[in-house]
Amino acid sequence: MTTMTSATTPEPAALLDVRDLSVVFHGSHGDVEAVSEVSFSVRPGEHVALVGESGSGKSVTSLAVMGLLPTRSAKVEGSIRYDGDDLLAMTDHERRDLRGAEMAMIFQDPMTSLNPVVPIGVQIGEVLQRHKAMTGRQARNESGDLLARVGIADGSRRLGEYPHQLSGGMRQRVLIAIALACEPRLLIADEPTTALDVTIQAQILELLRELVSGTGTALVMITHDLGVVAGLCDQVHVMYAGRVVESAPRRPLFARPRHPYTGGLLRSIPRLDAPRGEPLTPIPGSPNDALSWAAGCAFAPRCGNRIDRCTSQTPELAAQHAYEPGYEQALRCFNPIGEETS
């Protein structure tokens, strides 16, 4: 097993490269295309965000990367390359070896992702025994150190505790400890703080920032919260109804959103630092109103910038002039903010 010494190679080759990913679920009422034409890449040490609301396909994308989708009901197509190797061409066994050791995931709800009847020490230790071939005793010692690293005081004494004995923030720390046990080079965090209180969220985000920065670990952050993205991620991909609608580095994305959906999201969130009394500008309708991409732009029914073309032709994700070199900047819109044709 490879142990990571220094992942920050001078060469900025992508660690994870996803091209034209599509995920189709076979259901009893026909096929559902949950994700399509999703492309993004993550370099070592980079923090990338996939932002979207419920149904945007952001979680399905991350599960496809991890190889955690049911093989019988979900058809994954496109290419997912990790460190140059095509993950979709690998056997289940090969992917299992990567998962946990090379790439790890933190889920939203720590209560449902931890086993309630197994002590936390065993749950952390099992990753180490599986991937690092440690003995039980070694794994136990290492687990205690890991708990200390994620900020659980007295870590080695708490290894015998069960998930229900811990608070929500503590459980999330245990999940992070499990994810980081083998020093993965890619960490996917799916709404890691959504179930937590805001002061605990600040603790966990700070912890993630601390653990990930400087080690060269690449982070993919899946979230609906643009506030979380603003402080943590370099590159942002905004998703709507299964496709990426806008990609940009965070500064231009927040300062000058081009897609009407991105702009609409930013205008509809109450900001703590904005002067009070300004009415919010909501996006009309709900994510359920999305059209099929085959018929036009899925966001068209809710879009204030809609023109005739939007409901008759499907917009492509077009690369834009890169604002900062090395970042991806792309837009899927016929009538973007700032360049309205009508």
């Binding site: 969130i269 109450p270 009070r276």
Partner: protein, 355 residues
């Protein structure tokens, strides 16, 4: 001593004094012994003025929802204190009197899917409260209510599952306003909704307030949401109010260390702001309300904790500035910079420490 809200310029519709809600913890199956109490709400004073919005913000376990339900007497037995609504003490009402009183005070719940009966049509759902209180109902009532909450008339014959989350919350609001209440208590009205839909519901609440002259008590964990809709904001921590002020005042100059930490923890969707701001990271979790800390309940996590007084004496809410009340022994010293945070507190961010 209960300091009155300054000025008295507006009429107080809801006056809560010394409200306590303690839930017994019992042990044993046949002979149940009470072995302790969860002090969910422990001594809350609150004034809500007519036509205004009071925001109640706090994290999980702060007792904010229990306080809301306690005011309405919704399945929550009051341990002590008074709740005066329009001059009537509802804490002492029983049975039919209480039921009648409730038509003037309605509630909007967090999860519209769980609070709407899936087997009832919309028409049935939104007229049920009116029928229960013997108010006349006809077809125009339903149409008018649907119009008020921004739903089409055709919605009347449909069922909850046919609606999106935002539309269901509109139905929940229609149910609440059908009885023409003066006071509406909204418990986390938008936290179950998608981000792009939250603003629709917040705007609807504001619009209804203007059209119908409603008084709101909005309970939420999201400080940005609460600040946006509220005239006054009360911050709760472990069963008590630690700070209460006008919405802008609270944001501009928070006085309680908890409010400061809470405010600094809320992420702002703006990289320029996020990169510059300083965060006060609180250590640990909110303690259990079954065994709250002695003295100031925040002292176990407070970066400004001072020896012995904070541990021994529980601070009362006192008015530091007109309309701005805070429950902290050392609020003035912290505000002036005379007391600096202990090193134990983690301050992160690039900005220099400002007093």
């Amino acid at each position: 001593m209960n300091p009155e809200v300054s000025g008295g310029r507006d009429e107080v519709l809801l006056r809560v004094r010394g409200l306590k809600v303690h839930f017994p913890i019992t042990r044993g199956i046949v002979l149940q012994r009470t072995v302790g109490h969860v002090q969910a709400v422990d001594g809350v004073d609150l004034d809500v003025r007519r036509g205004q919005t009071m925001g109640l913000v706090g994290e999980s376990g702060s007792g904010k929802s229990t306080l809301g339900r306690g005011i309405l007497r919704l399945g929550v037995p009051l341990t002590a204190g008074t709740v005066e609504y329009d001059g009537v003490d509802i804490a002492s009402l029983r049975g039919e009197q209480l039921r009648r009183q409730r038509s003037a005070m309605q509630m909007v719940f967090q999860d519209p899917m769980a609070s709407l009966n899936p087997r009832q049509s919309v028409e049935n759902l939104i007229t049920e409260p009116m029928r229960a209180h013997g108010k006349p109902v006809d077809t125009t009532t339903v149409a008018r209510l649907l119009e008020l909450v921004g739903l089409p008339r055709s919605a009347a014959l449909r069922y909850p599952h046919e609606f999106s989350g935002g539309q269901r919350q509109r139905l929940g609001i229609a149910r609440a306003i059908g009885l023409e209440p003066a006071l509406v208590i909204a418990d986390e009205p938008v936290s179950a909704l998608d981000v792009s839909v939250q603003a629709q519901v917040l705007n609807l609440l504001e619009e209804l307030q203007q059209r119908l002259g409603l008084t709101y008590l909005v309970i939420a964990h999201d400080l940005a949401v609460v600040r946006h809709v509220s005239d006054d904001v009360a911050v709760m921590y472990l069963g008590g109010i630690v700070e209460q002020a006008g919405s802008d005042d609270l944001y501009r100059s928070p006085l309680h260390p908890y409010t400061r930490a809470l405010m600094s923890a809320v992420p702002v969707p703006d990289p320029e702001v996020e990169d510059r701001r300083q965060r006060i990271l609180l250590r640990g979790d909110i303690p259990s309300p079954a065994a709250p800390p002695t003295g100031c309940r925040f002292h176990t996590r407070c970066p400004y904790r001072q020896q012995t007084r904070c541990d021994d004496e529980r601070p009362v809410l006192r008015e530091l500035r007109p309309g701005h009340r805070v429950a902290c022994h050392f609020a003035e010293e912290i505000d002036s910079g005379a007391i600096q945070p202990a090193e134990a507190a983690q301050m992160v961010g690039t900005a220099p420490a400002s007093p």
